[in-house]
């Protein structure tokens, strides 16, 4: 009698939440069991995400089941979950990364501390919630959920380095969270609504003296998001934190910055879209400037970092900057490319994070073992005898080297992989602006952006080249790293995903284009949300 599919939309949030909760009291001794349950739920989420994405892709700009009114309260009043192409895409991406990281962690990293799998599931739930929700304050709640879990995971395994990095990370993000609250409440104070769609609808008809407060609120919100997205100069906490985190965690963290970006994309085009009247395109200049500065800083950092972990952290910054600036420039054509870039770079970076530890394990075996089995004492602590670190598969080095090469090519955006396709798409979008004459159509900013894009790729190439040579070629043929199969597989899978993206670039770009179009005329969607009927027909 009831259409169960209609509840599909909320499962990506509830399933991990429930599993995570259920795993809490399970004893740490049978971690593997926990891991398996976690894996099952992550897998389920992934499948659901794929189904949702197909739904979103097939049916119109807003699928029939794309709106979920929690508690059966209609849109502006209750909380709604909204599914569209973009959110579906992010769900898929997240689940994919999570799957990889989960498998990877089950090799050994989840023994580094307690409650890894619960925290992991809860992080997943938080992320999905942040992607799906259509309500400003609910977004805050899920942000906090995600952040809290990320704190937990960052500190997973403890140790001075992680704790020091974590302290900064937490402090900064707590400050940002209070900014978030201020912004949200200010917006509520002048518009009297929390629903994003409703907000967009109301903003157009708002008295100027009130609108300027909406803008203030939005700006303050923006800072909160930019801290997460890692815009210069709010991003110094990021590289140390990401470098300090355990590999699987870092791999998932690759998506965290993208959450900030995602929300900015959402709100920017929804609230300050073309229909926003006087305050249309508010804050674009800031985004562009910040983004470009971030690219530069990230590129410099990439060049300047000796350890691979920091390099990866900085390349996170580069990708954030690229996206921010692309959003800020706001040419319709670029958006699709930017989305493609988002997916590709996220996959790449997380693969790289997973790879790093495997590669370095070969060089200084034992250091990480120390990190894993950081001697821990306590009443509840079971004995953690340090197990064999993987087995030396013949040709491991070759596989690792190949993966590294792929990472390098992807990071530096060299052909033929998706990194290149993404950059090409962005540039193409930039060059294909209306206006017959290119020379006049493109402003100095646009050219700067082009240059920065190229230079950042170059920087990545030089740095990766340098580090790669040092690691794979110059190193005396020492111990071949001992690696579990389930550790290398996720890396390979993620990279394979990138290759798939490059091969299937056509269909993917079509999807991205559609998603971009959704973003560019959001009001249509807003009406759908606000006019959605309640269940039970009352």
């Amino acid at each position: 009698m009831t259409d169960w599919l209609q509840h599909l939309l909320i499962l990506p949030i509830l399933l991990p939440l429930a599993v995570g909760a259920a795993l809490i009291p399970v004893d740490e001794r049978n971690r593997m069991l926990k891991g398996l349950f976690g894996f099952a739920s992550t897998l389920a989420v992934f499948i659901i995400a794929v189904i949702l994405m197909r739904m979103a892709a097939n049916t119109g700009s807003l699928p029939a089941r794309g709106i979920y009114q929690l508690g059966n309260w209609p849109a502006p009043f209750g909380i709604v979950l909204v599914l569209d192409r973009l959110s579906a895409l992010m769900l898929c991406l997240t689940a994919g990364l999570a799957l990889a990281a989960q498998v990877y962690s089950m090799a050994r990293w989840h023994t580094a501390g307690h409650h890894f799998h619960s925290l992991f599931q809860l992080l997943l739930a938080g992320l999905n919630g942040a992607f799906l929700t259509g309500d400003l304050f609910n977004l805050f709640v899920f942000f906090e959920m995600m952040l809290a879990a990320s704190y937990g995971l960052l500190l997973h395994g403890s140790g001075p380095v992680r704790v020091k990095a974590g302290l900064h990370y937490i402090a900064i993000n707590l400050a940002a969270s209070s900014l978030f609250l201020i912004g949200v409440s200010l917006i509520y104070g002048v518009t009297g609504t929390l629903n994003m769609a409703d907000l967009a609808a109301k903003l157009a008809t708002l008295a100027p003296e009130n609108r300027q407060f909406v803008e203030t609120g939005a700006a303050i919100l923006g800072i909160a998001f930019l801290v997460k997205a890692g815009m210069w100069p709010l991003s110094f906490w990021l590289p140390p934190a990401y470098a300090a985190a355990t590999p699987p965690v870092a791999a998932v963290f690759a998506i965290l910055t993208k959450v900030g970006i995602y929300v900015i994309i959402r709100l920017h085009f929804l609230i300050f879209g073309a229909a926003a009247g006087a305050s249309a395109g508010f804050g674009q200049g800031w985004l562009v400037a910040g983004g470009m500065l971030t690219i530069s800083f990230g590129a410099i950092g990439v060049l300047a970092s000796q350890a691979m972990g920091r390099l990866a952290g900085y390349s996170v910054l580069v990708s954030s900057g690229t996206l921010l600036a692309a959003i800020g420039l706001g040419h319709a054509g670029m958006l699709a490319g930017a989305l493609f870039y988002l997916v590709s770079s996220t996959l790449t970076i997380s693969a790289f994070f997973l790879l790093i530890e495997l590669v370095e394990r070969g060089r200084d075996a034992g250091a990480d073992v120390l990190a894993v089995t950081m001697e821990a004492y306590g009443d509840f602590d079971e004995d953690e005898e340090e197990e064999e670190v993987g087995v030396a598969i013949p040709g491991t080095m070759a596989v690792l080297g190949l993966c590294f090469c792929l990472c390098a090519v992807l990071l530096s955006g060299l052909p033929p992989l998706s990194g290149f396709v993404a950059k090409f798409a962005i540039l193409r979008g930039l060059f294909d602006m209306p206006g017959t004459d290119l020379a006049t159509a493109m402003s100095a900013t646009d050219w700067t952006y082009v240059v920065l894009l190229i230079l950042s790729g170059l920087a990545a190439m030089i740095a990766m080249n340098r580090i790669g040579i040092r690691t794979f070629w110059a190193s005396i043929e020492g111990t071949v790293p001992r690696v579990f199969v389930i550790e290398i597989t996720p890396v390979v899978v993620l990279l394979a995903a990138c290759i798939f993206l490059s091969l299937q670039a056509g269909p993917t770009m079509r999807y991205m284009q559609a998603a971009a179009d959704d973003l560019l005329n959001p009001l249509f969607q807003s009406e759908r949300i606000l006019s959605a009927p309640r269940a039970g027909g009352q």
Partner: protein, 969 residues
């Protein structure tokens, strides 16, 4: 048909990887077969191409962006692919014998095939972007090939420089191609070639030109980017023979030829290309003379020959283009053979240093002969192919195309350059094969194996044949290629050995005789001189490049990262605050913000007084936080209290209750933590001795704080004095009771209207509890905070030195009466919690408040009895409570699915039981129960985990010490 050219090599390389590394022969045969297939396929396509047809193959890749997998073969492409595949076959054969047994051959051949594939891709691609793709691929693969012997430092450096240069150029070229595509409106090569005028007239033509040239010139090692090529000579000789003579370095000139119809013929083109070409031509030849390394000499000669081709292309006349294409082919043949010969020499003698080598003719006459012929071709001796193209070059050089200095210079430079060419060719022959018997060679030289020499034989033969009867051999192929480029602009030209007495011939004679003379002049010097030409030796491009690269990408980057970034928290916080202030102020400032009128009406003196106290508390606790932690905590409590009263005053009882409870727990929490912080000597510092910097920073922070506070005040006041817009609240107020089934609207919002928020919120709480728990399991207190606090020590000591007292008596006495009372408070607290919980839906209270209250009850017991005392009596399972709570909440929400309603749809009604009477029965209450259980669990877990440290830390300390001792042993 066309995809085969790309697929076969790449597939082959994929397969080749998996050959066992000892199977040298098998791998070689496999690779050779692939190359041969490609060659035959090319050959098979000739008839079609010769008839002026253009083969096209198109496969969708990203049609939206106009990037398709388009392959296109016309005569020129055919010529090139023939070259690539043919020489490919020969090089494979050669490498089969060249590579040592211990080299990992499969990798070599895999990379080799991959390179062949991407090279073919360049020449065949019919889409500009696709061309760029393959272009970069060649860079990457060549990087791996050059670094094939990566244990050798030179190989690593050479590879890195090569990649950096070529990839850099490639990226620039990409942008150029993008712009070009934008100008034309398509990336398809046919379209591009069709619209030359549009490009040449376009204002961005110069930009495009420069970007493209950056690509082309870096790729084919033109001045000033030439220096990577000599360093790439660290590669195995087959690689050099293939990449650095026939294929990769030709990619640049290939691009120039490809785009010649649309780009060439302008002033800018002439100047830039011509200048680069001439310089390269001259310098390359000059440098080549002074090389002591065989391959180095060849490398520089390659550079100079490429310069020659570039010059030809720069001239912009069709005939010159013909000459260029012709010379491309010729150079490929003789240079490849020369490289192979050099390789043979290296292989058989073990050295490539010309100072050591001499008189080899005696040992390897055949090889010597071959090498002599080839280098004669290089020198442009008549009856060899090199001669023909060089004649054409001279002929073009003396033509005047544009009237300017460069054009007039060309013939002289050409002559001098070819004079140098003669010199270094002569040196190559004479120095290596003649003269005294070589001494102290690493190996005893002898002829190479039969099949290792075969490729050289073939190529040299080709040189001869083409040199003698060009029209019958190369002629038709050349023609098809030229036609495919120039179309109807194809000029009349004759490939004859003898054009009669004319200036070019004279120039050749001058060059030949001059070159010979020059060689014999410099001979003695060269026999002993160090590497490199006299003057220019000092400035080595690669050194400069390296230094620049290191400076830019390492030194500056590091210092910039230091200066632009920071690893300290305070500056970061500062940035956050400043940016937030800016962001907040920006819209108000540009929006023309006007201050609302100050209205004092309705100011309640008591309330005002209250807030005077509150503000005092806040400021005080900020002031005391450094040296009187306890006081600042107390004052914090005061501020919280005032906040709580404010909530009550402004009609928010729920908030007041929650705020109060939370504040109490927080205080206890921080007190628990305070024990682990370092003791701070309580001396309020005098600000005199502080350095100025610190005082300045404090001032800055103070101002920032004032600004932030002022901003908040301003915004808050303005918004609060404005009328409330029509908010969603009215909806809630109207339906809270009728549909939500509760009179306390706030609580109904929490558990029903916005129950999802609450779900997330309790999830946050549980996450934090887990984190805290997990982190504290790893907690390592500092040594100085390890021993028990001195109060306890003193008190216990007091007990100990009194025989009639047992340890812990004092504390027992101290706590005697209080603990009795606290124990009785436990059930009362429980009652209060139940009260708060049950009434929550209708009156202030609710699951959260109840949970906290209950947990406070537990904490009270811990305080009175101590951890051990309590846990002997009560088994508390906070983890279970949390888990159950969260699950209950979720399950309650999901329950509504059974009735076909969305998650968290609540059901409320008032049931009536006989005795009890009417009581509310809302599903929201169950949800609230979940909240209660979770909050209780989480709070208790956090507090207890912290409290356990006092029990555990000392024990752990002793354990750690013991462990260290054992470690020492």
């Amino acid at each position: 048909m066309l995809p085969v050219f790309i697929l076969a090599p790449f597939a082959g390389s994929l397969i080749a990887i998996f050959f066992p590394s000892d199977q040298r022969g098998a791998t070689a045969w496999f690779a050779g077969a692939i190359a041969l297939v490609c060659f035959l396929a090319t050959a098979g396509l000739y008839p079609f191409v010769a008839s002026g047809g253009v083969l096209r193959y198109e496969l969708d890749w990203i049609p939206e962006l106009g990037l398709n997998f388009t392959l296109r073969m016309d005569g020129f492409a055919w010529l090139f692919s023939a070259l690539i595949t043919a020489i490919g076959v020969l090089v494979v054969l050669y490498a089969r014998y060249y590579m040592a047994a211990e080299d990992p051959v499969p990798r070599f051949f895999a990379l080799f095939l991959a390179f062949m594939g991407s090279m073919l891709g360049i020449v065949l691609s019919g889409n500009l972007i696709l061309l760029a793709v393959f272009w970069e691929l060649t860079s990457i693969v060549s990087f791996l090939l050059i670094g094939y012997w990566h244990h050798n430092a030179h190989a690593r450096d050479g590879a890195r420089i090569a990649l950096t240069m070529t990839a850099m150029g490639g990226l620039c070229m990409l942008v150029g191609l993008l712009i070009m595509g934008r100008i034309v409106g398509s990336y398809d090569l046919d379209v591009v070639l069709a619209s030359g005028d549009a490009i040449r007239e376009h204002p961005l033509y110069l930009t495009v030109l420069i970007l493209l040239l950056l690509g082309a010139l870096t790729k084919s090692a033109q001045f000033p980017f030439h220096f990577w090529l000599p360093h790439a000579m660290a590669a195995p000789t087959p690689v050099s023979a293939y990449l650095h003579s026939a294929t990769m370095v030709k990619a640049g000139v290939f691009l120039l030829v490809r785009l010649w119809p649309v780009m060439a013929g302008t002033e800018a083109w002439f100047w830039i290309v011509g200048l680069a070409g001439l310089t390269t031509l001259l310098l390359g030849a000059y440098f080549a003379i002074f090389q002591q390394d065989l391959k180095g000499l060849l490398a520089y000669s390659t550079i100079s020959h490429l310069g020659l081709i570039t010059v030809l292309l720069s001239l912009g006349s069709p005939l010159a283009a013909v000459a260029a294409v012709f010379h491309i082919v010729n150079h490929a043949t003789f240079k490849a053979s020369l490289f192979m010969a050099a390789g043979i020499i290296d292989h058989e003698t073990g050295t490539r240093d010309m100072r050591k080598l001499s008189g080899l003719f005696h040992y390897m006459p055949i090889t010597a002969t071959l090498a002599m012929v080839a280098s004669a071709a290089m020198a442009g001796v008549p009856l060899l192919n090199g001669f023909l193209s060089k004649e054409m070059f001279f002929a073009e050089a003396i033509e005047t195309h544009l009237v300017n200095a460069l054009d007039t210079m060309t013939p002289y430079v050409a002559t001098i350059a070819s004079m140098f060419a003669v010199t270094y060719s002569l040196r190559f022959i004479h120095g290596v094969f003649y003269g005294p018997m070589p001494k102290d060679l690493p190996k005893k030289p002898h002829e190479p194996p039969r099949w290792m020499r075969a490729p050289v034989d073939f190529l040299v033969l080709a040189c001869l044949v083409v040199g003698i009867i060009p029209a019958q051999t190369i002629g038709p192929f050349l023609h098809t290629a030229v036609v495919s480029i120039l179309g109807d602009r194809t000029p009349q030209y004759s490939l004859a050995v003898w054009h009669g007495w004319n200036i070019p011939l004279i120039m050749s004679f001058v060059a030949l005789s001059g070159g010979v003379g020059l060689y014999f002049l410099m001979r003695s010097y060269l026999a002993t001189s160090v590497e490199g030409p006299p003057v220019f030796r000092l400035l080595q491009g690669q050194r400069i490049f390296e230094r620049v690269l290191v400076t830019l990408s390492w030194k500056w980057a590091r210092s910039l990262e230091q200066s632009l970034g920071t690893r300290r928290l305070q500056p970061q916080m500062c940035f956050v605050v400043v940016l937030a202030l800016a962001a907040g102020a920006f819209p108000l400032v540009i929006g023309g913000f006007k201050l609302p009128p100050l209205l004092i009406r309705g100011v309640d003196p008591a309330f005002a007084l209250l807030w005077v106290i509150g503000i005092a508390c806040a400021v005080g606790s900020a002031y005391q936080a450094k040296f009187h932690r306890l006081v600042s905590l107390v004052l914090l409590g005061g501020a919280g209290l005032v906040t709580c009263i404010t909530f009550v005053w402004l009609s928010a009882p729920d908030l007041a209750v929650t705020q109060l409870l939370v504040e109490i727990v927080t205080t206890v929490l921080i007190l628990l933590g305070l024990r682990w912080l370092p003791k701070r000597i309580e001396q309020p510092e005098d600000t005199e001795d502080l350095p100025f910097r610190i005082r300045l920073r404090r001032l800055r922070d103070f101002l920032l704080a004032i600004l932030a506070g002022g901003g908040m005040t301003l915004i808050a006041y303005t918004v609060m004095t404005r009328p409330l817009p029509d908010t969603i609240a009215s909806y809630f107020l109207a339906r809270a009771y009728t549909e939500g089934g509760g009179t306390n609207v706030v609580n109904v919002i929490l558990v029903d209207f916005r129950g999802f928020d609450t779900l997330g919120e309790i999830a946050v709480l549980s996450i934090v509890a887990l984190t805290v728990f997990a982190l504290l399991l790893r907690f390592r207190p500092q040594a100085d905070s390890l021993e028990t606090p001195e109060q306890q020590r003193v008190q216990n000591a007091f007990d100990d030195d009194h025989p009639e007292r047992a340890t812990g008596d004092s504390i027992a006495e101290y706590l005697f009466v209080p603990s009795v009372i606290m124990r009785w408070m436990f059930p009362v607290t429980g009652l209060l919690a139940a009260y708060l919980f049950l009434r929550g839906h209708d009156l202030p209270g609710g699951g959260f408040a109840a949970g906290i209250a209950m947990s406070i009850g537990f904490i009270l017991q811990y305080m009175s009895g101590g951890t051990r005392w309590v846990e002997e009596r009560l088994r508390i399972h906070p983890l279970r409570w949390m888990s159950i709570g969260l699950l209950v909440a979720v399950a309650t929400g999901a329950g509504s699915w059974l009735f076909g309603y969305p998650f968290l749809t609540s059901h409320a009604q008032y049931a009536t039981l006989p005795i009890i009477g009417k009581f509310p029965l809302a599903s929201a209450i169950l949800f609230d129960l979940g909240v209660f259980s979770l909050v209780l669990g989480a709070t208790v877990l956090i507090l207890i985990a912290l409290a356990h440290q006092s029990v555990r830390a000392p024990r752990a300390h002793t354990r750690a010490v013991r462990a260290e001792k054992e470690g020492v042993r």
